[in-house]
Symmetry: C2
Subunit: 259 residues, 2 copies
């Protein structure tokens, strides 16, 4: 099964568009838990409420080899026990022969079902990921942070850069249907504009929760006609909640009430 | 000592602007050698000929935990035995709290003296790296690959995007003098334009050797008035050469004849 099929299956089974971001900051974890043990608690509480998980690799790499071993264990655990697809948030991208190596890192070493990539280096930097047709490739387009405006908003022939990126991705999606876009929920107007030009592409939506993204506007502007096409990711607001299961369920239900 | 001071010291001591890119493709290594052992051979043959080394992290991560352990050993070996600074080529960048974690990865876990970062997410995505003032931060501006034209050449008010990126970096360099630019030697005209607007900033030049960059034009267009300001990186053409020492020396001497 390819990534989009796995995602569809999990969305249907759990009736959910929620993605839990597994970004365990070692400074915030209970002292006696390893990163993997912390993740396992979150996963066991939420696996029937989500359509995917999204570990951010930096939160593991910051703990060195041990952290990366915990990432490997986490991904194996999710896929083996729950058959939920995993997006490795890594924002990779480099010249072709280097991106080949990054593709090995995310898809072979860590066996992620999908990855986030950075578009700045252009199409040939994404090709080694895209050629793995059974995996998903999510191109960051309009990021959730304030600094997104520094370059992504620069006007290219009266259109902002992020929209040019979106249009290019749309073109490439004809040949590579495993391509998707990442957009911050902090930019609902931009979600609206991108959905207009790309009515079918799946959007990964970051920034719900701690970053203060607007959920209702995100859904209004981002849902496809089939009431899907979004992966709504929340991290800190779920994994550090007093009751992670409750938080994930509340987010799932709020989304479902809207759609 | 901060990165630029270490770089200056090595450039002076070895009379060299050469950086060897340590990008060991496991498929190309002699069978009995680990990645670290392969690197050690290259380093021992070239340490008196270079101003820095630049391992590309993907080439290690593709071999998983063992590859990353070899990267750690490689960096420790270079710094302890030869006091040569190390650039970790990683092209990192994400929203602030994630970039914090990436900064820990490259500067604490791997103890690199400098890192390459991707500008697409904007200033706040680079800040956690820049705040480590003793380390160097090299922003990719005009990459050496063909796909560089896809976005980096888009016209923003009659100027290409890469030049806008260069101008922003120049502004930020007033407060963060540890910032630098990466430019491909495959684009000598762009090196010329960027040197015009940034007469003092250090440029990391990639793409010499296997990628066919133009060395003479790169030097003509990129050298500062003090005949420095460039880090000329070559990887495959040195590490897979029959005699890596000879190749590194030939490159060093060719550069020095010009300057």
């Amino acid at each position: 099964m390819n990534f989009l099929d796995k995602l569809d299956a999990a969305q249907l089974k759990n009736n959910s568009l929620v993605c839990v971001g597994l970004d365990p900051d070692p400074a915030k974890l209970p002292k006696k838990l390893s990163i993997f043990q912390f993740n396992k608690l979150i996963i066991d509480q939420t696996a029937d409420l989500v359509c995917c998980y999204k570990p951010q690799i930096a939160f593991y790499a910051a703990s060195g080899i041990q952290g990366l071993a915990d990432l490997q264990k986490t991904i194996i655990y999710i896929k083996d026990k729950y058959q939920i697809p995993v997006i490795l948030d890594a924002k990779r991208g480099d010249i072709g022969n280097t991106s080949q190596m990054y593709a090995k890192e995310v898809f072979d070493v860590f066996d992620a079902d999908a990855v986030t990539v950075n578009p700045y280096c252009g199409f040939d930097s994404m090709l080694p990921f895209l050629e793995r047709k059974e995996r998903g490739v999510i191109v960051i387009c309009r990021t959730s942070n304030h600094g997104a405006i520094d370059f992504q908003d620069l006007r290219v022939n009266r259109e902002p850069l992020y929209l040019k990126v979106g249009r290019k991705i749309l073109t490439w999606s004809k040949k590579y249907p495993n391509i998707m876009l990442e957009i911050g929920s902090t930019w609902p107007k931009e979600i609206y504009i991108l959905r207009k030009i790309a009515p079918k592409i799946v959007f990964l939506i970051a920034g719900i929760g701690a970053q203060g993204g607007d959920l209702k506007l995100t859904l209004k502007n981002g849902l496809r006609d089939d009431k899907k096409g979004l992966i709504i990711s929340a991290s800190r607001s779920i994994i550090y909640a007093q009751d992670p299961r409750n938080s994930a369920q509340a987010l799932r239900d709020e989304i479902n009430r809207y759609r």
